[in-house]
Amino acid sequence: MLKENGILFDVTLCVGCGSCYKKCKEVNSLPQANNDFLKDHLSNNTYTVVEQYDKLYTRKLCMHCNEPACASVCLVGAIKKSPTGAVVYDGDKCIGCRYCMQACPHKVPRYEWSSTKPRIRKCIMCNNRVQEGKLPGCAEICPTEATLFGNIDKLIEVAKNRLKDNPEKYYQHIYGLEEAGGSHVLIISPVPFEQLGYVSKLPKESMPEFTMRAMEKIPSVVVGGGVFLSAMYWLTKRKNQIAKEEKNNTHGN
């Protein structure tokens, strides 16, 4: 966990200005789709949204899972977990099977349905900007520092301290720390997370775990099955032979 970066979003600090929404579109050259940013939702031209729940505002974006389901299912490896912590996408490899959309526990990836050369679209934690030494668009623009970008271990520390220092202000849970094996986007809020439209009740194991349990049986199935079938082939053949010989004996000629 050396240089892995992440994002910490603090619902209590967010004022719902929508700067991150606009800046994200700007840095990723995504077209403006909706005048009222609060009414927009994740789509092929929106990587992040600001949503209003009563007096609270929260953001939705790709969680950049530690062991991303989307990357594990992508048969051509178009989605990858980069060493910087971001989960990035290579549209030239993608064949468009959309298994990543199906697999993502946070229902994040979107697809360019109307295009004839469609791509998967989702937040990539501004990986290019980060590698150039800049902050992600949303973190750079955020006026209240509700969105923080930095080393993931430090962010976890920060989040834990905030929860500890202001127990009455925060709901005592860091969303993203353990959800689906943990992620590189962490969210803290004053209310339980299902009230903010997050997918709750996610298992603690990473999603690829579920598949691995079945996949790791494959070698033994192949070997065992191969041996079993060969044995059966030989045995039944032998049995038929013996039966035939016996028949021949009993019938003479």
Binding site: K107, W113, P203, V221
Partner: protein
Amino acid sequence: MKINEILKPTFWKVVSVIIVTIGLVSTFYRFTRGLGATTNLHDMAPWGLWIGFDFLGVGLAAAGFTIAATVHIFHLHKYEPMVRPAILTAFIGYSIVVCLLVVDLGRPENFWHPLVMWNIHSVMFEITWCLICYTTVLILEFAPVVLEKFNLTAPIKYLRIISIPVVIAGVLFSTLHQSSFGSLYLIVPGKLHPLWYSSLLPVHFYISCIASGLSMIIFESFLIARAFPKDEGFHHTELKMNILSGASFAVLVALIAGFLLKSYDFINNGKISLLIKPSAETYLFYLEIITGTIVPISLLSFKKFREDKKWLYIISICVISGLILNRLNVSITGLIASSGVNYFPSFDEISITAMLVVLGVFAFRIVAKNFHLFEAAESHETVKERI
């Protein structure tokens, strides 16, 4: 075949031509306008009818490996007459599946990427490779039929030598990808309705494909007897009831195994309470279990029904219906609740699917008419066994 005989319109010919024409237009739109314009798929329902149909096609084509194993590995030569139709069915079924997959891909021109870009952790990757390998196996298994038509005996000899390893490989590849279609959904425990989600999904898929693949072959025997009648000059197309009853017994065993596994799964994971929760999913689940498992098991338990062709026909339809419901429930119904949107396939999705099915049937017909599909040249063993 005289030209005017081919052109003579019959009901199904007219219907087929209409379906294929519409399907071709839809295919054209699909590739020129993209998925969004022609399908009802969207971000919350990324997989639809096409993927569901792939599940069906693969499940129903399972007889290809079960029958091949029965005859060549377990040496039950009684079932020899089923081998060729089963392998052809499997091949055509898989061809339909592959075509549908390509149609469904957002970037069909990149379909070859999995060959060079590997991610061995992906179930989809494993399925793709198994599909490729198994289709090769099917070609090898069916090649003798084609070669013998053109009197090319030399290659047949070589194929004979490798035939057993090929059959074994076919069984293994099938086992892997049939179950892996279930594994595809292992990664969505939160999304797939718990009535269907289970860590045993791959095993469920494997067992049910055996039952339904065999039922499909039984059903197909009726289709063959109906489509290639004796008075049109076909031989050996009549119903071979002793074989069909034997196969139906295997269906019974597989269905019971599947049912026991499902019961175990429900009891062990405390899912019983789900059964009394009224919801659309529950009703569909009951429909699936009753038509696909309970009714066939209770009928097949009686020898009388196993040996009566009318009932066998009805039972095979039941089992196939059960599979249709099961696979589409897993791939579509079970995901609706968690996605929060309703999905129903668009006209183009349906017409392209229908077109591919019709073309598959057509391909089967052509092969059946031109090759020795039914009078399997009896292997030496068969002849010897009969003495």
